[in-house]
């Protein structure tokens, strides 16, 4: 590991990292390395006990999904039909596509056995015998490492017909996506896994009832299921109180204009200011912060004066944005907000699956307007049209992609309206992309 990225998974000084504990351990993706350190012991113990015990410890921990929506994991599991005759599937959503997010990548790449151990425990808890790990197509190394880890676990008898000799069967199939952001939406992911177009499904029915191949299915994020193992290992109480917090450890991907970008494991509920200035080394070059996206591209943007917000699901929701995938993107004072929004709109227009009319047409429409503004051909009324396009998409589609596409538009304009207006009036950027804008 090079010195430049040695800060991946850094936990606060004096604290034993949890989910990221092997991120900096050489060869931790190899089973021999982690077996010596006690890997699979937690799962072994869990399978010696009752499934309900695993469920209880997850419930007690209050663990919430780390993929973006923050849905309580134990509650999600409880939606499974009780006496189903169909097989129950566990699907790991490793289609980590939210811009600004790279935490799951490190689990898959550097500690895949913690995920596999979590899968064994989770399958046991929800009475599933089959798990699919759906990894985004671009994640070549993570997919290779995860597949190798699965193979090793089979060879050791930790997966297969007789896990740890307990008689319980757990099979894992690693499946690679083909590179579509929308396949991170859980029902689009299921369609993709079934070999269909990655289009989100109409709900109801929900996947817990009618999921993969028409069977009850639980879809969880990589970090969530790895956390299940760590909760089992540490006990719910120790997990929650880790680092003096009240929720537990959480991985934050910090990128943008910070001195030390990286994946940080910190107690959930730490302030955004702390993440940026205490852990990520502050803004690069001593510049001022202009804006911060707290939870991946979809999350509404925060201004510099809003960064004392606590980085947990409820506090960010109260602040009008969301924790999302915990992808923190820091923009310094030189950033042109018009260009920033252009990038966001370009991404969402490119990734809309095209199924629902409002999102299909709205994302493309918004992109054309912002492109026009960026070229210096904007009109002041364009801002209201952008807001009306965004508002029109919101809440009128099958999945929340339209919201994800609408929120940047709404928040960038609401919080930086005067900058947009100045750009339109003068045809000039307030940020350092001015030259680029004119060269465009």
């Amino acid at each position: 590991m090079s010195a430049a990225n040695a800060n991946y998974g850094l936990a606060p000084a004096g604290l034993e990292p949890v989910v990221s504990r092997y991120f900096n351990l050489p060869d931790a993706w190899k089973i021999e390395t982690v077996l010596k350190l006690g890997a699979y012991e937690t799962a072994k113990k869990a399978l010696a006990g009752k499934p309900e015990d695993v469920l209880k410890v997850v419930m007690d921990s209050g663990l919430r999904g780390c993929g973006g929506a923050g849905f309580p994991t134990g509650k999600k599991w409880s939606f499974l039909p009780k006496d189903t005759k169909k097989p129950i599937y566990l699907v790991i959503n490793a289609d980590e596509g939210e811009p600004g997010t790279c935490k799951d990548r490190y689990i898959l790449e550097r500690d895949p056995h913690s995920l596999i151990e979590g899968i064994i425990m989770s399958c046991y808890a929800i009475k599933s015998h089959k798990c699919y790990i759906y990894i985004r197509g671009e994640y070549v190394l993570p997919a290779a490492r995860t597949q190798a880890a699965v193979d090793e676990a089979y060879a050791k008898g930790f997966l297969g017909d007789n896990v740890f000799g307990s008689g319980y069967r757990v099979d894992i199939t690693v499946h690679r996506g083909a590179g579509a952001y929308i396949c991170g939406e859980e029902t689009a992911l299921l369609n993709s896994l079934e070999g269909k177009r990655g289009l989100p499904r109409l709900k109801p029915p929900f996947p817990a009832v009618v999921g993969l191949f028409g069977c009850p299915t639980i879809i969880n994020n990589v970090e969530t299921i790895a956390s299940v193992m760590h909760i089992g290992r540490m006990g719910a109480e120790n997990f929650v109180k880790w680092g003096g917090g009240a929720i537990g450890p959480h991985l934050y991907s910090v990128s943008g204009h910070v001195a030390k970008p990286g994946v940080y494991e910190l107690p959930m509920g730490i302030t955004l200011r702390d993440i940026i200035y205490t852990h990520a080394g502050g803004v690069r070059g001593g510049k001022k912060i202009k804006a911060v996206i707290p939870g991946g591209m979809s999350a509404k943007i925060l201004r510099a004066d809003e960064i004392d917000v606590k980085m947990d699901f409820d506090s960010l929701k109260a602040a009008g944005t969301m924790l999302g995938s915990s992808g923190v993107m820091v923009m310094d004072e030189d950033v042109c907000m018009v260009k920033a929004l252009l990038y966001a709109c370009r991404f969402f227009a490119h990734e809309s699956c095209g199924q629902c009319s409002p999102c299909r047409e709205g994302t493309g429409w918004a992109l054309k307007i912002i492109e026009r503004i960026y070229r210096g051909e904007g009109r002041l009324e364009d801002l209201d049209t952008l807001l009306s396009v965004a508002g029109g998409m919101e809440g009128r589609t099958i999945c929340v992609f339209a919201e994800a596409a609408a929120w940047p538009i709404q928040s960038y304009i609401a919080k930086f309206r005067s900058e947009f207006e100045d750009y339109i009036k003068s045809g000039k950027s307030a940020g350092r992309d001015m030259a680029a804008a004119h060269a465009h």
Binding site: A180, I182, R197, L202, P204, A349, H350, E351, S352, C353, G354, Q355, C356, S357, P358, R360, E361, G362, T363, G364, W365, K368, I369, R372, T385, S388, G392, M393, G395, R396, T397, I398
Partner: protein, 542 residues
């Protein structure tokens, strides 16, 4: 059952149905829809059927929201209307607005809904997305225009779920998504995709640019193409006789009948209408000095009177040939006159040539619409081949042929018959080899030109309706028969086809109790038996 309120009116509807089904069943309100079609699975992608449901934070789509006890639904509230308008605005954003050159204009749901749900204040000021396939034939029957498409996926679902031929797919993402075909669209039901396409993306190549739809006159009828009896709309040009080489029937469209064809019809039936306007026997003709010459009905009936008087003197050496293409009414009077009164020696209506392709959906092997009616009215009858064989052996002096082309037995058949049979009387719709050799040719009205009934394979009696006037000299054949009978002193005073049906219902146990009014709206199963009666309507099972 669930008690619900739609736009202030209270209804009790079945549990588990969706709001849009409740709206369609109770008929008090309406919502716009593109992707929803009652015959296809729910796609929920067009998003336009937005309704407000009290206690729900946002408007919901009516097609995928199940009714619940006490639900209060608004289709016309401010919140619902705004939602419907917003979605329609998106649907129109990249639409080419080429209505002036679009064949769908007049029956386009984008046009219709814009009138009702449009914002009338277009905000879209950008370049529209260009798509590559515009007016491109994707098979023998259908043209595709990707830019007009609203991506409702009805055509995809139709070919996936109904025909299971899977020609259509949606390709690409976002606002570049487009409908296209994997392979040529060439299946037995391809025309239906133009019917269910709510916009001008899929148009019928046969109908394209023949006329604007608002000039069409429409009459509900029954397809005569096979014994299924699919309900159809005969759509005609009645106002401009100079138009399109005097073609009057422009197209056929399926009409929903839940018990027969649901919403569909096959291409064989859909495109078989051309014989109504082409190849017709237009004039009454009589053979003079070996040549057919035009004459008047009066002269023709007088000539027929002589022929039939001659026949009556030795009816055993006369034969009557007809076909189950005729209505029950026509067949009934034919039987009453030729069989019962004239007592011809042989009567036949069946032959082997009417047996063709069959599938397990709509298309039946029997290519006649009224075999059940013919067999009920005539009882057991000989095959036409027996009559032809007897004629070839010189056992027949006279042949009365209604609508059968005997050349099907071989090209030289009619030459042989002409040499052996003294008198041939032909009554029918289209010119054929048999009409060409007849001594007297009486032009009959086609099924599109008369009222009547057909009995389908399962004994369902259904109404056909006169959509256009009989061509030139043609008359409904039951009226011709009634006149022929009158010439022989048998006076029947039926003025309308309905009167004939009443007489049939009075005489025949199978038709007992049936009336024209009673056949509405979906036909009635008679009390007779049919060969196909045991067979459940496979369309119904589908």
């Amino acid at each position: 059952m669930a008690n619900i309120t739609i736009d202030g009116k209270q209804y009790t509807v079945k549990d588990g149905i969706t709001i849009i089904e409740a709206i369609d069943q109770t008929k008090g309100s309406d919502v716009p829809r593109y992707c929803y079609h009652p015959g296809l699975s729910i796609a929920g992608n067009c998003r336009v059927c937005q309704v407000e449901v009290e206690k729900m934070p946002r408007t919901v789509i009516a097609c995928n929201t199940t009714v619940a006890e006490g639900m209060v639904i608004h289709t016309q509230s401010e919140k619902a209307k705004v939602s419907q308008k917003v979605v329609l605005e998106f649907l129109l954003a990249n639409h080419p607005l080429d209505c002036p050159v679009c064949d769908q204009a007049g029956e386009c749901k984008l046009q219709d809904y814009y009138m009702e749900y449009g914002t009338y204040d277009p905000k879209f000021n950008e370049n529209k997305v260009k798509k590559t396939k515009k007016a491109v034939a994707i098979g023998p029957t259908i043209n595709l225009d990707q830019e007009r498409c609203v991506l409702c996926s009805r055509c995809v679902r139709f070919t996936d779920e109904i025909t299971k031929t899977h020609e259509f797919g949606i390709f690409d993402r976002g606002d570049h998504a487009k409908v296209d075909v994997y392979s040529e669209l060439n299946n037995k039901y391809s025309g239906n995709v133009a019917d269910i396409c709510p916009v001008g993306a899929l148009t019928d190549r046969d109908f394209r640019f023949k006329m604007r739809v608002w000039y069409l006159a429409k009459k509900k009828s029954v397809c005569p193409g096979c014994s299924r009896g699919c309900n159809i709309s005969i759509e005609t040009e009645n106002s401009r006789p100079y138009h399109l080489k005097k073609e009057r029937v422009m197209r056929l469209k399926p009409v929903e009948n839940p018990d027969v064809n649901k919403w569909w019809m096959c291409d064989d039936g859909r495109y078989a209408y051309k014989s109504i306007d082409a190849g017709r026997i237009e004039k009454v003709q009589v053979r003079k000095a070996g040549k057919l010459e035009e004459t008047t009905w009066e002269n023709a009936l007088a000539a027929a009177g002589q022929i039939l008087t001659e026949a009556a003197s030795n009816p055993g050496r006369w034969a009557f040939i007809t076909s189950p293409q005729h209505t029950n009414e026509e067949l009934f009077l034919q039987k009453k006159f030729f069989k019962d009164a004239l007592k011809v020696g042989k009567t036949a209506y069946a032959w082997s040539f009417d047996h063709g392709f069959e599938d397990n959906f709509l298309i039946k092997a029997d290519k006649n619409p009224n075999t059940a009616g013919a067999s009920e009215i005539f009882g057991a009858a000989e095959d036409i081949s027996k009559v032809v064989d007897a004629a070839k052996r010189g056992e027949i002096d006279g042949l009365i042929i209604f609508g059968r082309d005997l050349a099907r037995y071989g090209a030289d058949t009619l030459a042989v018959l002409r040499a052996k049979v003294k008198t041939i009387l032909y009554c029918g719709v289209n010119v054929n080899a048999a009409s060409a050799v007849a001594d007297l040719v009486l032009p009959a009205a086609s099924y599109a030109e008369l009222d009547g009934t057909f009995t389908n394979f399962e004994g369902r009696v259904q109404r056909i309706r006169k959509a256009i006037e009989p061509m030139q000299d043609a008359r409904p054949s039951w009226k011709i028969v009634q006149d022929l009978a009158a010439g022989q002193g048998m006076i029947w005073k039926n003025k309308r086809s309905e009167d004939v049906f009443a007489a049939l219902a009075a005489e025949s146990a199978a038709f007992k109790g049936l009336t024209y009014a009673g056949l509405e709206p979906h036909g009635k199963i008679w009390s007779g038996t049919t060969a196909g009666a045991a067979e459940t309507a496979s369309a119904g099972a589908r």
